[in-house]
């Protein structure tokens, strides 16, 4: 049986990358972002907390955004940042870590149009 990826991730570059202009980087991560306050099906126990702690976005190996997340971010978190396009373009990478120790990452090449 194929192993199901627990946390699919989508990294998209929105807009045409033009040198000197800003382009949007959108990250969509599949994660339940359980707050720890919701009750289980039988109404007795709380579903344990499981949220993404931190997201790190890098452009050409250099960190451009470090985010610490709390329970207030919606499930299947969406993060959208803008980055200025340099002459040669570059590699956009996202890394995330959750409070249960799960990790995820994605990479995409930003190609100048």
């Amino acid at each position: 049986m194929a192993t199901l990826n627990q946390h699919p991730i989508r990294l998209n570059i929105i807009g045409t990358p033009t040198v000197g202009k800003e382009v949007e980087i959108r990250v969509l991560i599949a994660h339940p972002m359980e707050t720890g306050y919701r009750l289980g099906v039988d109404g007795n126990e709380r579903i344990p907390k499981n949220i993404i702690d931190s997201i790190l976005i890098k452009f050409n190996q250099e960190a451009i955004m470090i985010a610490k997340l709390g329970t207030g971010i919606a499930a299947n978190p969406l993060i959208s940042v803008f980055v200025e396009v340099p002459e040669k373009g570059g590699m956009v990478s996202v890394e995330w870590k959750d409070d249960q120790g799960a990790l995820g990452r994605a990479e995409k090449m930003l190609v100048v149009a």
Binding site: A2, N5, R10, I14, R26, L28, A30, P32, N76
Partner: protein
């Protein structure tokens, strides 16, 4: 002259009636806010695209060897629930998730439930592939099967108009008589089945029709039937038949 007037009247009667019938049936997507519609139409914003990505992977590795064409297999989405005969003279209704689970169990040799992530993911994937197809419920050809199928339909029709729960509401009271009205943040839709499975923000995940129907029972504070019960399958058949002729929207966002 009289004959001419008669013909014109009949013609007008037919024309106005048919246009009225078409304009009344709206899919649940018509009741979403502009913000939600924007999220739904943009795959980079829509959380459902994460399930679709997974579904694509699973299809390639698990299903493609036997089911060569996605669009052929997706036709089942608009034809189910179907009558499956178990013994010579009896059978039961099965829906698309039951069929996928059955296929998966046979292939892997292990029993898998409808609520498993894999089954739901495949359901989302096939539902997306069936976008734009016209709903046409498949009826059994065999006469005794057809009679039993009809019996289920009638049973479901009775459930649909029966008042239940502490709130003492029947399905028809809201979904036929209070369409468009607000229930706090929810807007009552006519409950046509064009967009399942749904990503519901209150669930914070994707769920199938079975779960949504159970949530409805819970909403009127009636005792909730268990997952996969015949009552829920019969209701699904009735609602699908009621949506016959409408176009399939594919998996949708809901509040």
């Amino acid at each position: 002259m009289k004959l001419f007037a008669f013909i014109v009247t009949i013609f007008l009667f037919c024309v106005t009636n048919s246009s009225q019938a078409q304009s009344v049936r709206q899919s649940g997507n018509a009741f979403l806010s502009p913000d939600m519609l924007r999220q739904q139409h943009d795959p980079t914003l829509n959380p459902i695209s994460l399930w679709l990505d997974q579904g694509q992977e699973l299809w390639k590795s698990q299903c493609q060897q036997c089911h060569s064409s996605v669009s052929e297999t997706a036709k089942a989405v608009v034809q189910f629930p179907i009558w499956k005969s178990t013994l010579a003279s009896s059978g039961k209704l099965i829906n698309i998730e039951d069929q996928i689970a059955d296929c998966w169990s046979k292939k892997s040799g292990k029993v898998i439930s409808n609520d498993a992530t894999e089954i739901l993911t495949m359901s989302v994937f096939l539902s997306d592939a069936a976008k734009g197809m016209t709903i046409q419920v498949r009826e059994p050809q065999d006469v005794p099967m057809k009679n039993q199928w009809q019996e289920q339909m009638n049973l479901a029709g009775q459930i649909y108009v029966r008042r239940q729960g502490r709130l003492n509401l029947s399905c028809t009271q809201c979904h036929d008589q209070q369409i468009g009205k607000n229930l706090r943040s929810d807007v009552v839709s006519p409950a046509f089945l064009t967009g399942f499975p749904i990503y519901r923000f209150s669930w914070q995940t994707v769920g199938n029709l079975d779960r949504r129907l159970r949530a409805c029972y819970s909403g009127v504070q009636a005792s909730v039937p268990s997952t996969g019960s015949p009552e829920l399958r019969a209701l699904e058949l009735f609602l699908k038949k009621r949506s016959e002729g409408m176009l399939w929207d594919g998996p949708s966002l809901r509040r």
